[in-house]
């Protein structure tokens, strides 16, 4: 049996010093990851099995919080339904819109860099400020949106006052922030070799065929990235529905998104244990969806060397 051998034993003095310096440099990030991310995640999991109201000592309740969630909380399923609705509509719509915008911004036109900046600007506007602007624009009687709709002769919806139209209004609002996704698509588009597009053109491919047979396959890894990130973000939508519907999710709980439900249990009712259980379920659900997306990626994400991974 050999004795203990330091993993650094094979390194030269210089390499050891550099390794030590490297460790020191990453230490703050590792520490903050452990303290501010890993510890809260672990604490949430543990607290999800307790009754905890900040002041009192956590009181172990086993699976009671999970049982309450699925069988005794009448707002849980509406919150789940609202969040799924929002994710199912806003993510595909946002991806299509941001890809279309990226394709336009990828054109060689005068002043294109100005347009690129302008389309990204909404992403840096604080969500509460932009939400208030949208509330004013969607005002049923005299808001800009309904004024334009009435000019076409169509019936104008009541948007955030009507439970039927409040979520579509929120989805439309989500398009305001597609600048970041557009930017990533734009970077992906600029990474596509021009030679391939030129070869396709020589072979007689039109714009639609180039998009379908060259651009989209080569962009599919970027689409995968944006899809995963946007799905995660969509389940975390919080500020906008909170500003519009408050903690009750008005009108008629139509704006009660899952994150608002977590917030209200944690910081309005001080049911930290229950809110932790809600968070754990959200984490598990989003992880599961992400795994399914990654699994499905084998069928549709194209790798230049081998095509879709079978």
């Amino acid at each position: 049996m050999s004795g203990f051998r330091s993993p650094w034993a094979h390194l030269s003095l210089m390499q050891r010093r550099e390794a030590r310096a490297g460790m020191l440099f990453v230490l703050p990030w590792v520490l903050s990851l452990l303290v501010f991310t890993a510890y809260p995640v672990l604490a949430s999991v543990i607290l999800s099995f307790t009754d905890y109201s900040i002041v009192q000592t956590p009181h172990w309740v086993g699976l009671q919080n999970y049982q309450t969630m699925f069988t005794g909380d009448p707002s849980f399923w509406p919150a789940v339904r609202n969040s799924i609705y929002y994710a199912l509509i806003s993510v595909p719509l946002g991806l299509v819109a941001s890809l279309a915008l990226a394709l336009v911004l990828n054109m060689r036109a005068a002043g294109i860099s100005i347009y690129r900046t302008l389309f990204y600007l909404p992403s840096v506007v604080p969500p509460i400020a932009s939400t208030i602007v949208f509330i004013v624009m969607f005002e049923p009687q005299s808001g800009l949106v309904n004024t334009l709709i009435r000019l076409t002769g169509l019936p104008a919806p009541a948007w955030f006052s009507d439970p039927t139209w409040s979520k579509p209004g929120l989805v439309i609002m989500s398009l305001w922030g597609i600048g970041a996704t557009t930017l990533i698509f734009l970077a992906g588009l600029q990474d596509i070799p021009r030679s391939l597009l030129e070869a396709a053109a020589i072979d007689g491919a039109g714009p639609w065929q180039k998009l379908r047979n060259v651009i989209l396959p080569l962009l599919s890894p970027v689409i995968l990235f944006n899809l995963v990130m946007n799905v995660i973000y969509s389940f975390q939508v919080f500020s906008q529905p909170l500003v519009i519907g408050g903690t009750t999710g008005a009108p008629f709980e139509s704006m009660l998104m899952y994150m608002v439900h977590i917030y209200r249990n944690a910081f309005r009712y001080f049911k930290m244990g229950y809110a932790s259980a809600l968070s754990v379920v959200l984490f598990a659900a989003v992880m599961l969806i992400t795994l399914v997306i990654f699994r499905s990626a084998r069928l549709w994400v194209f790798h230049e060397e081998s095509g879709p991974v079978a």
């Binding site: 109201s53 900040i54 009192q56 009448p74 005002e139 500003v243 008005a250 309005r268």
Partner: protein, 484 residues
């Protein structure tokens, strides 16, 4: 290749050593930043900096408020200065007004859990809800020997909001009393007597009167009389005010003596069925059409719409006495208004009112309980005069002179009317039904708001919605009491 070196006081310093030193320096700076800050200079809301007091005073009290307007928050600096003149051994730091982006209650509870809470604070959530979590100091012994705050110096219905299992956990320093505001000029334009004595005394009379003012243009509600039981676009406020309407119909929402919710009593089901019938008869049975037609609250809404009452589009409106000043924050389309008693429901026998207090409490773990209480007692009996001069919340302590009149109302309506309306609201406190007495108040309010939405949205019958809310609230309450 030799590593690049820089000269430092005649010695050579390698780049690696330089980075190492920078790292240690940064770490030291980080640790220094995390260290306790000693006695910081406090910044008031007005932006002025109050320097730390030299260590001559024996006791330094900290005092918080959950937020409020700049003028209200700055009142506490004046009150503190006045108090220090009579208690020179006590210094009071600048009032910490709100807690930034984080929820005030969350921060307060966290400081209590960490053992470093403020010595005294104002809270806007029921003290009972804090008391059940063991977060507040009981005050009965301190009140008994106080100058202003003995039990008998508070209206019983209002003090009930601070009492849990026989102990008192707060002082309801102000209690905005509710009344039914109405537009006298609108009444008179239809030949309806507008005196307070002529105001409806039953729900049926109120409903008949309301119809006189309600006018639809297609699907748009142009003018309205009165909404049962509150602004339908604001279920949160409706849930608070429902306690008044329940009392008017001979019931209550929460029995604080037996610690039981009583949401689905016959009278409460009748009350909500009454509202539903009223909605069907006068408002097309469609609450969405009502809410999309205008802003039926008392202040401009997020969509920028003017408030309907001030705009002359809503004849009658439930609000607290603070509205006597707040209503002038929006352009008023008329001059003369008044407030009437709440009318009685079919199963009720007496008028009632409600209130919304500011509570003074001492968090558990306060370092100076006696001194903090003395300061609170001073605010309740004397400091309140400064507070009232800036923001005319209705003082609840019975030792406070009853002839206080809000300046804004004097300016707008004259001394006589101002005195009369103030006396009216003081009287409303005497008939206030107990509110804010549930240990799970916020949870309960949200469930009541949900039930109201379900009923008015016709997603559930009054009995179904109230029974579901009853079960949820009682389960929540039992859970809270079990660990109390």
């Amino acid at each position: 290749m030799q590593p690049e070196r820089v000269s430092y006081r005649g010695r050579l310093l390698s780049r690696r050593s330089f980075l190492k030193l920078a790292g240690f320096g940064g770490g030291a700076a980080l640790l220094a930043a995390c260290a306790p800050a000693g006695t910081p200079a406090a910044t008031t809301l007005a932006g002025t900096t109050v320097p730390p007091t030299a260590g001559t005073a024996a006791i330094n009290l900290s005092f918080w408020t959950p937020g409020g307007s700049a003028v209200w928050c700055s009142s506490f600096d004046t009150i503190a200065q006045n108090y220090q003149q009579i208690e020179p051994d006590v210094t009071i730091g600048a009032a910490q007004c709100y807690t930034g982006d984080q929820s005030f209650n969350e921060v307060l509870l966290a400081t209590i859990a960490a053992g470093n809470p403020p010595d005294a604070t104002i809270i806007w959530s029921s003290p009972v809800a804090f008391a059940v979590r063991g977060a507040l100091e009981p005050l009965d012994a301190l009140m008994a020997s106080s100058r202003y705050s003995q039990l008998e110096n508070w209206p019983g219905g209002v003090l009930a909001s601070c009492q849990f299992r026989g102990e008192t956990y707060g002082l309801p320093v102000t209690a905005g009393a509710y009344g039914l505001f109405y537009n006298q000029e609108l009444f008179e334009s239809k030949g309806i007597p507008s005196g307070r004595a002529d105001f409806p005394t039953t729900w049926d009379e109120l409903r008949r009167l309301s119809k006189e003012f309600t006018h639809w243009n297609g699907d748009t509600l142009e003018t309205a009389g009165f909404f049962p039981w509150s602004n339908p676009a604001d279920p949160g406020s409706a849930a608070v005010e429902l306690a008044i309407w329940s009392a008017l119909n001979g019931s209550q929402l929460f029995d604080s003596v037996n610690l039981r919710y009583t949401l689905n009593t016959e009278q409460n089901i009748e009350m909500m069925q009454y509202a539903l019938d009223w909605l069907d008869e006068e408002y097309m049975g469609d609450v969405v059409k009502v809410t999309t037609s205008g802003n039926w609250s008392g202040s401009p809404d997020a969509q920028g719409r003017p408030p309907a009452f001030q705009d002359g589009r809503l004849a009658m409106f439930t609000n607290g006495n603070w509205f006597t000043g707040d209503m002038y924050g929006s352009a008023l389309a008329f001059e003369r208004w008044d407030a009437g008693l709440f009318p009685v429901g079919p199963s009720g026998s007496n008028t009632a009112s409600g209130y919304w207090p500011n509570w003074l409490v001492i968090p558990k773990g306060s370092a100076h309980v006696q001194e903090a209480f003395n300061y609170m007692d001073y605010i309740a009996g004397e400091g309140i005069l400064v507070w009232f001069a800036n923001v005319p919340d209705l003082p609840a302590n019975l030792t406070v002179p009853s002839d206080l009149v809000p300046t804004k109302v004097i300016e707008e309506r004259g001394q006589a009317f101002a005195e009369d309306i103030q006396a009216f609201f003081r009287g409303q406190l005497d008939v206030a039904t107990p509110m804010w007495t549930s240990p799970v108040q916020d949870f309960g309010n949200d469930q009541i708001a949900r039930a109201i939405m379900q009923i008015l949205g016709k997603q559930a019958t009054p009995e179904e919605a109230l029974t579901e809310a009853q079960e949820l609230c009682q389960t929540e309450l039992d859970g809270a009491l079990a660990v109390a």
